[in-house]
Symmetry: C2
């Protein structure tokens, strides 16, 4: 650090040496205070020691403050004294300060703060004299001693609580407020005695000593284990450091004309303009947090302290104009005078984010392009799903948190089996299906339920994928849920039974006991024609915003949709085609399953063909529906993909059934039938079905399946074209590893397609392409491109094989990989309290948390280094062979904003995702396009143009 | 084709226009005939139409012979007439010729041949006059009509057989030889009548017409479906074409001074020098093939026709000197005079190949380098395994052919369960274990059996891998084997029961009913000290050859060995270290399994540690054994890799057991135990265990396992170093996908290693590396190399994930992929007769066979395009980060010669394979090094030096 660089920045008396743009030097809090000071807003004066001091201190081996700094601090303290007209350490008119950390990126609660600094047995007298409030002064002193001793001297705060509880017990007193001045004095003595016995030294009474040690403690807290872990989890750099803010104390607890509060400049749930928040009279920030007294809504302030309220309104407007965003403000009123303590951009729901962005454009504060960049893509899902009614005052109890796999809020009754869920639905009840994990057998129950909750499985487990497909609320991987054999569900100490009320938050993974009312999505109601746009303000905001998104969207967004009603929904959400129709999903319907089984059980080609002939008209009907819904937009149909045994009864179930039939010797015919079925199931049984007889291997082993499917695809196209709809089917061959597989299937597809078009006396273009979902396909893409009109990256399977992670099983270790930092090394449970570094289960302490192995679930966010480099290779190789080849991605990643942005970088033509993710993917695509254009423009002005 | 190029090449009268080096122009047969003529050997004169004529004919659209060619043929026929002093088509002294195909690469039986051409009702009279043998002449005529009609006119040969059988039945005659001249004349009439009715035309009587049409038929046969398919299967080019050889006929069936025979210049089974083969007096080649008369051993010829025998001996020596190899010769003796009809390099067993190569060096005919190149690496396995005793005259019946997965010959008694195999072994019987497929549960039975035979599974199934590991004979994937529930085995129509005699050939996959005596490997007996080298000539040849191999070997060869006795064997076979010790194999022993289960079932870390503490001394003892055996050579130890449920009872078995216990309500304690066990098994159950909780994921989830294993590795090293053996353990982390996984495990390994060395007050080098067996590891090898001292390519798993093929399941479709050309499109069975293009099962005909999807099993021979390019990438990236990184490969491919050669190209430091493959890998490595050096030298003389 160059000595001439400014290390301390003053703010106060209407001027600051720093400003809002200096976050990296002043930290977020310091920059906000400087900005507000410069705007002429009432901010208690103070000064900020820059983050560079922190880094110099740490890199210098923590050997005291850098040379000369303490002298500068003393100089700035003198300025502060003069600004406040008080003196630090003075017995008559003492200046008290807070010492707070504040880094460039927000790290809430991770670093240290000391309030009321400057108090000792002498200065407390001055505070009494000035405030005429003895009880307030001693209470402030008591709090200071405990806080300083904890933060600076390392005495655990529990010890102070124990002392307090003991004194209250001795006095027979229940509330802190009942303590008299005498009691408080006694308490301060006891606190100081505790410090003496814990540290072997006296509590420091010299305010400058207090100040210096507090500054060092704040600097140290940057590398405290909590902070380090917090940054590691979020992949934030350890460089940066924290600033130290030393600010004159103002007090909201000086009486009925004092108070403190937190407000948003607009409603953070709905985005409706106008202050939103609450305040407490005669209170400090701590009291608000403690929740002993109920705060009042901010509007009440208008009647109680109208002057302060008007000031707050003006300040809010000034700050919004400056920040061009909704803000989260903290203020304190001391003796009727309002002071701003913090201003930062406010967190909000998706509904609010869109409304605020649109309103800010309308208010002339934001450009459309900026508005598009302002909304987090995932936030759009708030528009499509039911949400808990914020107005309703429902009773509920938090139970457990899992992984949020299907967005939305839901409440209903616990169902333990799919059949129960179906029964409940028939009775008009909302079922919440709770299972260890789900399987294709549960589809009817999942269809009937409003939400599913599973003990196992990750973000791409069966339950999660189906949930997003069906638009159901879903929470998975709740390890803490224990499904008893006796029909109960145990969650921690709570035992639930079938039929009890549950509520599930699919946005954050939280599960509650009790029934929380939900309100349906207005956007979905309007899109489906059940509500008129005029009736829904929410819809109109959504529609405006999506128009802007569409105008900036680069890459196309298609839908993964298997059935006509899904295609319809996708189109309503703005899909530019179907990127993936999984034909096997058409066979899971109850009326089709038996025919599918017949096809699989067939022992001769004739039997198989007979079953396929029954499936043909069903498939064809579905395709006709899809083509009609998409009305000329591209439709990509994937040939049969999953292992055949997915359509057959479970092996174990059959074995059990046969064992019972054998023991009871009841039904010899059924026994023989079940034995035959088991024999075929055994034949099809695979150790690793994911890597077995599936994908194009099926179509090669049983060409008659491919033949039937292509016939259905082409007959449907012929018939829909006869209606005047321009269909050009895209037929996709799954799980290709070898160019020879692709060629074999392509020849068959062409034969059948030509045959079919001949019968209809028609001729129209159709395309044959392949999924790239195996590493071998990616590295031999140049060969595959010779036979393929398009590639669609099947990023789910490609992730599975690239990592060697089974999507069905990986949760057991993936979960650990992602949350290892919360795992106790002693008992192995994920019960580490990261703040205290002790285990909540076994109580053991750790010196530092373990490093996480993965920062993101690769089944949710595309792994750019590994899977991504294979995709990049395939893109390059494929385009080299066939420059016109169409490239898309159709895994779950197609709906993940970060992955969509990466696909844009890779130059893909489209992504395809489940219907409910389409608007999200479109927004992510628009943001990627805007960001690329900005980078391009910036580079252009630098004289460098990226391609 | 340029018209001035010579299109026809004459040979005869001691001189040929071509020579032995012109295989590509004259085909193999034509080149051989020219070479022998030039050497002054007795060869019937003739001429060869070049392969270029064939390509000109085919590319010209098969519109007759190229311009001017027929005139040239007539010119050469005139030269042939003059050389033979006979005239073609002459009624008094007719010249007869054979018209034979012959391409550059041997395609036995794939193209067409016509013998005795030139016969008609007139010329047959001349033949009678000249040979004074009316019956011979009419028999030759009859054979010619049938052969010409079949090859040239396309009349199926069965028709002629039917006519012959009918006539014999009418005459009441059983043998062809009983037919009189009158009968033969009648037969010729009937044959010609058949041709008339089948083709609607007369049989062509003009010899020149016969000649031209035969030449065209031979040219056409190059693109016949059989030939095309033959080439496709063997990846041979369709370019090349066939030559046409027109050769004067000589007859071995003119009486007791005539004859025909086939000899090898050395014994093809043993390599012992001296003619080996047999002959038939008064016979044509066809009669030898028909096998009606028993031929006599060639030595007998010395007494019967001593002049001809002496000539043959001289010729054999001349040709061996010329070809510098053992040859396979065809000859005919006409009236005491010997003619050579063919000379080509002879096929041989591995034993013979080595002896011949060594002898040829000693005879001064070959350099050592050439000798090393002469032996096919896989052929070495003949030295290590028992082989059927060629002397013994055992009765056996061929039953079925599977995939040869474990080399050697074995015979014994059929065992259907592992327990039976163990019992048989106890009774001193040799058991052949026949199973649908094997699992780790069968290990004790597999140990007891001499061979295993499975209905399912491919070359890298459990049975195959274990067989090669244990050195057992093994045939897998015998689809035709049907294991009945009643304890019988059905193979086609044969039904076998437990205890019946079976013989298995693990070199070619053939299975026989009956007991064929086998003799033990002398090499193994000598290596294991059970026989002295002086007692075994075979051993001495082997040892000499392997010394030469060692001298040329570039890359090192290590062993995959898990236990001390395997390590010992590996060392005896010349292993330069252990490349892969699979620590889990140490736990499958009967006394260790329960402790392993206890470890897995542990519910707390304490319980688990307690079980691990019991395993520690066992592991350590094994490592001590390994280190001692390898005596300072590198030992790579892989940490625990397989899914834990491999060590637990099967889920289905437990469920069945519990169901029975529940129904019988017999034993409540056992029921509770089994339920607890099932619960844990359920917890560990995975849909795709190959992609589940295994490899380093185990070590990360249960660090105490890694800790125990590293402690055992290092304690063993300390103790063995104290004995004066220089051990530097290489600790290998399996299934790494992420650099963070590697780093986490490496930190733990280092901690434990340092701790352990500290306790022993020692300090020595050890290395920590990783398997590269997932595509993600390959594409991020640059990152992994930062933490790894070495990479070992786990090509089995890398093949699985790159292709998305499960090694356990892929046989169902891989088998089809490899043999699709033999599959009937009508019935789907692999029963297509490729020669006749009809299905042996359903009898349907096909126009052409389907293309194979794969030419090689990627689990046997490394897939260079896909898996190979990932390995290449990892090699480049790894070396870029750490130029000194040691690189090896330890999958099954390490013992496959083609893969070893590829590893040499990639620049790996070593390959590692099962002990019995070590000499094979060493030979492959030596051949790769020699080939690379030759290429280097050739390039150097061209002025280009490859790196």
């Amino acid at each position: 650090m160059v000595a001439t660089q400014q290390r301390i920045f003053f703010f106060g008396e209407g001027r600051a040496e720093g400003h809002g743009g200096m976050k990296s030097v002043l930290g977020g809090k310091g920059a906000g205070l400087a900005e507000m000071t410069n705007l002429g807003l009432p901010v208690p004066p103070g000064f900020t020691i820059s983050t560079e001091v922190c880094m110099a201190y740490l890199t210098g081996g923590r050997r005291g403050l850098p040379p000369g700094l303490w002298e500068e601090v003393l100089h700035y303290m003198a300025r502060l004294e003069s600004a406040m007209d008080k003196r630090f350490g003075d017995e008559e008119n003492p200046l008290l300060v807070s010492v707070r950390s504040g880094s460039a990126q927000s790290m809430p609660g991770m670093m240290d703060t000391v309030l009321n600094l400057g108090l000792n047995d002498q200065t407390v007298q001055g505070l009494i004299a000035r405030t005429k409030n003895e009880r307030f002064a001693y209470d402030a002193y008591r709090r200071f001693v405990a806080m300083f001793a904890n933060v600076v001297l390392g005495v655990p705060c529990e010890r102070f609580e124990q002392v307090l509880e003991r004194e209250k017990a001795e006095l027979g007193v229940e509330q802190d407020a009942e303590l008299t001045v005498k009691d408080l004095k006694e308490l301060i003595d006891r606190y100081q005695g505790l410090v003496r016995s814990e540290t072997g030294r006296e509590f420091p009474s010299d305010p400058y000593d207090q100040l210096q040690r507090s500054i060092l403690a704040v600097l140290d807290s940057w590398m405290g284990p909590r902070a380090v872990e917090y940054r590691r989890i979020r992949q934030m750099s350890d460089r940066g450091g924290t600033a130290v803010n030393i600010v004159a104390m103002v007090f909201g607890n000086l009486g009925e004309t004092s108070g403190t509060g937190v407000v948003f400049t607009r409603n953070p749930s709905t985005g409706v303009p106008g202050l939103y928040g609450d305040f407490l009279l005669n209170a400090q920030g701590e009291d608000v947090v403690a929740g002993i007294r109920t705060p009042q809504p901010i509007e009440k302030l208008a009647t109680i302290l109208p002057e302060a309220y008007r000031t707050l309104l003006t300040i809010a407007d000034t700050l919004e104009a400056q920040y061009r965003d909704m803000l989260d403000l903290e203020f304190t009123i001391e003796d009727g005078r309002l002071y701003m303590l913090q201003a930062r951009v406010g967190k909000r729901t998706g509904l609010a984010a869109v409304r605020i962005a649109v309103d800010l454009v309308r208010e002339g504060r934001l450009t459309v392009r900026d508005a598009v960049m302002r909304v987090e893509p995932n936030h759009l899902s708030y528009f499509f799903f039911p949400v808990f009614d914020q107005q309703a005052d429902a009773k509920s109890r938090f139970l457990v948190k899992g992984l949020p796999a299907g967005p939305g809020h839901a409440s209903g009754r616990l169902a333990l089996t799919s059949n129960t869920a179906v029964e409940m639905e028939r009775r008009g009840e909302r079922a919440i299906l709770v299972r260890r994990e789900t399987s294709p057998d549960d589809i009817h129950g999942m269809n009937a339920a409003v939400a599913f909750l599973t003990a196992k499985g990750g973000m791409t487990s069966h339950a999660a994928v189906v949930a997003r497909q069906l638009g159901k609320v879903c929470v998975v991987g709740c390890d803490a849920i224990d499904l008893g054999a006796d029909g109960t569900v145990r969650i921690g100490t709570t035992v639930l039974r079938e039929g009890e009320a549950l509520s599930v938050n699919g946005f954050d993974g939280k599960v509650y006991q009790g029934d929380m009312p939900v309100i349906e999505s207005e956007v979905v109601q309007v899109l489906q024609g059940r509500m008129r746009p005029e009736q829904s303000e929410t819809f109109r905001y959504y529609a405006t915003f999506m128009e802007w998104v569409q105008a900036h969207q680069g890459m196309q967004v298609r839908a993964n949709a298997d059935l006509p009603d899904q295609a319809k929904l996708a189109r309503l959400f703005g899909a530019e085609g179907i990127g993936l129709c999984r034909t096997e999903h058409m066979f899971f319907a109850a009326d089709r399953m038996p025919i599918m089984q017949q096809m699989i059980l067939a022992e001769t080609k004739e039997e198989r063909t007979c079953a396929l002939n029954q499936l043909l008209p069903m498939q064809k009907k579905d395709f006709i529906g899809l083509y009609r819904e998409m009305n000329g937009k591209p439709v990509t149909i994937r040939l049969l993909d999953p292992p055949l045994h997915e359509f057959l009864p479970k092996r174990e179930a059959l074995m059990m059934d046969i064992a019972q039939l054998e023991l009871t010797t009841g039904n010899p015919i059924r026994l023989a039938e079940q034995r035959r079925l088991l024999a075929r199931v055994e034949e099809l049984h695979e150790t690793n079905p994911m890597l077995g007889l599936r994908g194009c291997r099926l179509g090669i082993a049983y060409p008659e399946i491919t033949r039937m499917q292509v016939q259905a695809i082409m007959e449907a196209a012929c018939e829909v074209r006869a209606e005047g709809i321009d269909v050009a089917p895209e037929i996709m061959v799954p799980l290709v590893a070898l160019a020879s597989e692709m060629i074999t299937q392509k020849v068959l597809i062409q034969t059948v397609a030509d045959e079919t078009m001949g019968r209809y006396e028609m001729r129209f273009p159709y395309h044959v392409g392949t999924m790239i979902e195996l590493p071998r396909a990616a590295v031999t893409a140049d060969q595959l491109a010779q036979a393929a009109d398009f590639f669609s990256f099947g990023s789910n399977d490609l992730t599975q094989t690239t990592f060697g992670f089974s999507r069905d099983d990986a949760h057991t270790f993936l979960d650990r990989y992602l949350h290892r930092s919360a795992e106790c090394v002693h008992c192995g449970r994920r019960t580490l309290d990261v703040k205290r570094l002790t285990c909540l289960h076994c109580g053991e302490a750790m010196t530092r948390p373990q490093a996480n192995i993965l920062s993101d679930d690769p089944f949710v966010t595309l792994d750019q280094e590994g899977v991504g480099s294979l995709i990049r290779l395939a893109v390059e190789q494929g385009r080299k062979t066939k420059p016109t080849i169409k490239l898309g991605l159709c895994g779950e990643h197609g709906g993940d904003p970060a992955s969509v942005a990466y696909c844009h970088q890779l130059g893909l033509d489209y992504v395809s995702c489940s219907p409910y993710r389409i608007p999200i993917a479109k927004l992510a695509a628009a943001q990627a396009a805007i960001a690329a254009r900005s980078a391009h423009q910036e580079a252009a002005t630098d004289g460098q143009v990226p391609r």
